[in-house]
Symmetry: C2
DNA sequence: GTGAAAGCGCTAACAA
DNA sequence: TTGTTAGCGCTTTCAC
């Protein structure tokens, strides 16, 4: 047995011929533009179905002057935040209207440099980018070529939809301080532009409280990197009694490292994550975490993108939301 | 401040004019086809960069007769298996060569009927589909229109790359039987074509062992659905002492339901999942699970797709791999 | 309501 | 190694 395929895909011209109208009409009917009588319209749809006609996105994109497709760039699918953003974006885009083109940067081996290019080459009208790792300046350069909406990160001069990380980090650190902890460490990620607010806020708060900040940095945004960094951090002198991590993935890494050393949570170590992922909510994990409402951020970003498409010259959007600390059982008063 | 954009994107014609060669040459240079001298080639790249030229994928797709783009259809990003498949597929596709176009079916609300259409309309040459919910017959119909590689599910007459679920389920059930359990239940998903092998194997094995199968079916492929179904299952008479679930997501749902009822795992209930997700490996979760090697399945599927693209008439691929039971602490001997 | 005609930017023969 | 010439299937004025 072998694979069958139609000899030649039907085109709008075929449909037009079948119905006995012009190709223009068929084109209009499929974009339900005004100017097609209901009967003609129905006849066109019927014929299209009969002929197995499929709209050709490439041809349409080429012919149309306006770009309506939305590109969504995601850093990493293994972090729930990004799939939540995807879900949020989809909620914002009308069912039938704007096409959504996905591009995921991180494969197992590392960041895919071509992920952004593929979006540009697909000639999307705008790119919603979740957690770009490029410096602010380069994001602005990109936005010069094609409109960009940055999600979960603020970039000056570029439409941005992001959580108020200052408030989120403050809530986390205050929670730990309130429990009596003084040796509170922070597990940060690599120091990319726009990904350091949580760290800075933590360090500032520690100093304000008359304490010494102790920041460990994972060399990658993965659970494994955090686990490695945490193994060192927790083995050092004056082991921290609490750790606030850049995200939940990191918190899980710290958690594994802690358990591997025989420490208990929250007995020996209080742990606060960031994202409030579904994993954080599992019994037995019960991670205290900061909910940044990723789905809502995605929805807002989608809306901002739609507005930008309609009004290229409009004012830059700068939309923040306030994250919420969700206290579970990974934090406890200092003994 | 407002968004800037270039007046008119540069085309190959612009580049050709700038360099003083023909447009053909530019086209050749960008596809690094033979017939362009190294100097010309370099001059073209320089000019392209200077002019901000970007290859237009839509135009290229329209003009080229052969379809080389690979479409990847994923059921649900919230299930780790599918993002693993994505990662696997990417490993198989050459860096620069075939474009990969992603389409995700399940948003928060449910299955996106348009997900498959968007791939067809993007005129991909082949679709790698992970966990289609359509009946076998409809998958075959689809494969008539466009080549399909089915991953994680076998479809007769269609290229398929899938785990030997019979072996996987057998290993799971044997493990539980070996621990002395007799009241072993199964948490199945909705009875879609191609997603019932695990259930059938379980039921057959139970009967072979002289035991009565007890299958509960979640009404959706989500943790929440499994949790609801498990709440009923575990509240019934003759509560099972062990549950084998269709996947890890379900196992987590059963786990939550069990804990909510005050049951302990593995004390009161042994639990075996399927997928060996990263969550299963976390301390405190320690879920015994069947590893189906999703990344490898994805890579194999990518390779099969590439072969099919090169040889449309070749024999149907039917590739299985053997899953491996990973025993952790969610299972224990019957007390 | 409907149709004719002019491309969109690129690839792919073929010819030189 | 280079240039010429047709389209690919669709959108989109503009006229009827």
């Amino acid at each position: 047995m072998s694979i069958q395929r139609q000899p030649r895909p039907a085109t709008q011209a075929d449909v037009a011929r079948e119905v006995g109208v012009s190709r223009t009409l068929v084109s209009f009917a499929f974009r339900d533009a005004a100017g097609v009588s209901p009967e003609t319209r129905q006849a066109i749809f019927d014929a299209a179905k009969r002929l197995g006609y499929r709209h050709n996105a490439a041809a349409a994109a080429l012919a149309s002057k306006s770009r309506t497709a939305v590109g969504l760039y995601l850093l990493d699918l293994r972090n729930e935040v990004y799939s939540d953003v995807l879900n949020g974006v989809r909620l914002a885009l009308p069912q039938a209207g704007n096409r959504l083109i996905l591009s995921v940067s991180r494969s197992i081996g590392g960041v895919d440099q071509g992920a952004m290019d593929s979006l540009i080459e697909a000639r999307v009208g705008i790119i919603i980018a979740a957690a770009l790792l490029d410096p602010d300046e380069r994001v602005r350069e990109l936005a010069q070529i094609i409109p960009v909406v940055s999600v979960t990160r603020r970039v000056e001069g570029v439409d941005s939809v992001y959580p108020d990380d200052r408030a989120g980090a403050r809530a986390a650190v205050e929670h730990l301080l309130g429990l009596g902890h003084t040796r509170i460490a922070h597990m940060a990620g690599p120091p990319f532009d726009g990904h350091t607010v949580r760290r800075e806020t933590y360090e500032q708060m520690m100093r304000d409280a008359g304490l010494t900040p102790q920041t460990a940095a994972a060399d990658d945004f993965t659970q494994e990197a955090a686990e490695r960094a945490a193994s060192e951090l927790l083995a050092g002198p004056d082991r921290p009694t609490a750790v606030f991590t850049h995200n939940d993935q990191f918190a899980l890494g710290v958690r594994e490292a802690a358990y591997a050393m025989g420490l208990t949570i929250p007995g020996d170590l209080s742990l606060v994550g960031y994202d409030d992922s579904r994993t954080a909510r599992l019994r037995g994990i019960d991670l205290t975490s900061v909910d940044l409402h990723a789905v809502e951020l995605g929805t807002t970003a989608g809306r901002v993108a739609l507005e930008r498409l309609n009004d290229p010259g409009g004012p830059i959007a700068d939309m923040t939301s306030t994250p919420r600390l969700v206290v579970r059982n990974s934090t406890a008063p200092l003994r």
